[in-house]
């Protein structure tokens, strides 16, 4: 099956007074129809910039974007706002982190949904309104006929995120990009939102890119995982491979810092020493090397992202497969 979205060597840099910040540095991946791809990494590793750049939402005037983003074989990187209108919402929809700020406080939620429908479809007000009610119902908002007339501040955080998702689904896109959709919500609500996304993925065949720093979220819903560090992809593998045969020491570190029920309570969580490098002048060679406990001579040279343990499990670490298998 050909991928629905192909990202090849995407680079985003920002010219600042201190120099050029390479926020995204050569990211490549494919997204197949119906697949859930998780992009994980700590704050500032470039995952949100990657997501926003896919639909041209990285708009800073000092930004420089190169590389290729293909939607169903059609290049969409570098298109202007007008050309991107058909892509945004219609083909690729987005859900953002903080649903309070992501909805305009001065409009009723129903109007925010119908606004999107009217922007793309020639339908009557009444039809759009009915569609909005139906969408709200489909994402599990009770009493949608009444809720559609309320303002965002009259909703709880979880309900607001459901509104965002309902809005994203309005035009039945093929791809949903969810940028930390559960970060601003409390745990029980997180589970509900993930369940909703999972269900939409299974019922509608919606391909999902979910950005998160929470491996718990990843385990819950992802098919494939992209681990990012300092603007680069360091590991790209299936969910099972990431959790059972992780290959990159950074992934080991992420997994080690996860509290798990299948480990004895006395086991301490490990933490990755140090802090991520500045993206102004990242270390030459492997970017994780300064924090890596397995560092050796070859690490002074940047390893390519390639399969070392066989199959399509890509990673960016010089360690031989035996050492990796042993650790994993």
């Amino acid at each position: 099956m050909s991928p629905i979205l192909t990202v090849d060597d995407l680079r985003v840099s920002f010219a600042t007074e201190d120099g050029v910040v390479k926020a995204v540095d050569g990211v490549s991946f494919d997204l197949s129809a119906g697949e859930v791809l998780a992009i994980v990494g700590e704050s500032g590793c470039g995952k949100s910039v990657t997501a926003q750049t896919l639909t041209g939402l990285t708009r800073a005037t000092n930004a420089r974007i190169t590389g290729s983003v293909k939607y169903r074989g059609k290049e969409i990187n570098g298109l202007d706002d007008n050309q991107l209108r058909d892509v945004r919402g219609e083909q690729i929809a987005m859900v953002f982190q903080d649903p309070m700020c992501a909805l305009n406080p001065v409009y009723r939620v129903g109007d925010q949904i119908t606004e999107m429908i009217h922007a793309h479809r020639d339908v009557s007000k009444k039809e759009a309104q009915a569609k909005a009610v139906e969408l709200l119902r489909s994402v599990g908002i009770p009493n949608p006929e009444r809720r559609v007339r309320l303002y965002p501040h009259e909703f709880s955080g979880g309900m607001r995120q459901r509104v965002m998702i309902a809005m994203a689904l309005a035009l039945e896109p093929d791809v949903l990009i969810a940028d930390e959709p559960t970060t601003a919500l409390d745990v029980t609500i997180q589970a509900q939102i993930l369940q909703l996304i999972d269900q939409l993925n299974r019922d509608r065949g919606l391909a999902v890119i979910i950005i998160t720093h929470d491996l718990g979220v990843v385990a819950e819903i992802a098919d494939r995982v992209l681990v990012m560090y300092a603007g680069q992809v360091v590991e790209n593998a299936t969910l099972d491979e990431i959790f059972y045969e992780p290959c990159h020491p950074y992934t080991w570190g992420l997994l080690g810092s996860l509290a798990r029920l299948d480990q004895p309570r006395t086991a301490r969580l490990t933490q990755i020493p140090g802090a991520p490098p500045s993206l102004l002048s990242p270390p030459s060679g492997c970017r994780f090397a300064p924090r890596c406990s397995h560092v050796f001579d070859e690490c002074t040279e940047l390893p390519p992202l390639e399969a070392r343990t066989g199959g399509v499990h890509l990673d960016r670490c010089w360690l031989d497969s035996e050492a990796k298998a042993h650790h994993g």
């Binding site: 700020c101 992501a102 999107m116």
Partner: protein, 320 residues
């Protein structure tokens, strides 16, 4: 909503009362402001001054004088000391000119301020923005009396493009009415266009970075829709506040300079005369009139706020 309005009306009464007391007291401590002495003439003998004083009721205690004056204002019987004419009637006669000037100018200044602020924000940092920035700073810096005099000199005496001020009632000739008001409208609007366009520009630049604007783009709206419906709409709220205050202020006699230079027979011109002749009754009435409009438009703005921003609830924690 009902309770809110009732509370604001009560507050308004309080404000008007306080202002009237302050104006009254200030007038009584200004040196050389004794109306009796002024009316009686330069070489009047003390007996004459005493008679005038008694006639005007100025020999009574201050609180009594104050109450009498208030009663006269609200019954419409207040007469000027200097000219012996009914004050309330005179203000009433000045209303058409003042309203014509202020409403026209307000429409002009809001339209231009929104246009300039919008263009400035959308082209932030580029030539259009810089040019509009300079223009608005020039507008803010020009004193009204100077601008009015310059416009009169160049556009009516030198080029004879416009009439020399004075007011033509709308009912007499709408064309002449507008023709005579073009320069005054422009003069009064310039300062506000400058200030408002600056405020709107910075609000818009803030709002452009809001998450919901990103959402609007991600929805596939056109850039125009994003800017008009999401950026501009949300940026207008603080501008509306300013407008409420300023509009109340110019209606209530704040257009005094414009009215004076262009000889528009409005409330401002009347206020100017009253100040020059230190005439308390018209002064008091004009100040009360102005305060009334300022408080009134403040209240309207607060109500409008709740319409513009649904998060604001009038009943509960309305901004005072």
């Amino acid at each position: 909503m009902g309770r809110f309005v009732a509370r604001r009306l009560l507050g308004m009464t309080g404000v008007l009362f306080a202002i009237s007391v302050i104006v009254f007291l200030i007038f009584n401590v200004i040196p050389n402001s004794d109306p009796a002495a002024r009316i009686a003439g330069k070489n009047a003998d003390p007996a004459l001054i005493a008679r005038v004083t008694a006639d005007l009721g100025l020999d009574k205690p201050l609180p009594v004088q104050y109450l009498t004056m208030m009663k006269q204002i609200f019954t419409g019987e207040l007469t000027s000391y200097a000219k012996d004419r009914n004050v309330v009637e005179q203000i009433w006669e000045g209303l058409p000119a003042t309203f014509s000037l202020c409403i026209g100018a307000a429409v002009l200044w809001m339209a231009l301020a929104i246009l300039f602020g919008y263009l400035s924000a959308v082209h932030a940092g580029k030539f259009t923005d810089r040019a509009l920035t300079i223009l608005s700073l020039v507008g803010i810096s020009m004193p009204v009396f100077w601008l009015a005099a310059m416009l009169l000199y160049y556009l009516t005496f030198k080029v004879e493009l416009f009439p020399t001020g004075s007011y033509v009632p709308f009912t007499e000739s709408p064309g002449e009415w507008a023709y005579h008001l073009i320069l005054p409208w422009f003069t009064l609007a310039v300062l506000f266009v400058g200030i408002y366009s600056r405020v709107l520009r910075s609000n818009m630049l803030d709002v452009m970075n809001e998450d919901y604007v990103r959402t609007a783009r991600a929805k596939g709206l056109s850039e125009r829709q994003v800017r008009m419906r999401h950026v501009l709409r949300n940026s207008m709220i603080p501008v509306i506040t300013l407008f409420g205050l300023d509009f109340g202020q110019v209606i209530g006699g704040g257009a005094i300079l414009t009215e004076t230079v262009y000889n528009l027979d409005g409330v401002g011109l009347y206020a100017g005369e009253a100040i020059r002749s230190l005439d308390l009754p018209p002064l008091m009435a004009v100040v009360m009139f102005g305060a009334f409009f300022i408080v009134l438009f403040n209240t309207i703005v607060d109500i409008l706020y709740a319409v513009l921003d649904p998060r604001i609830r009038l009943g509960e924690a309305a901004p005072a």
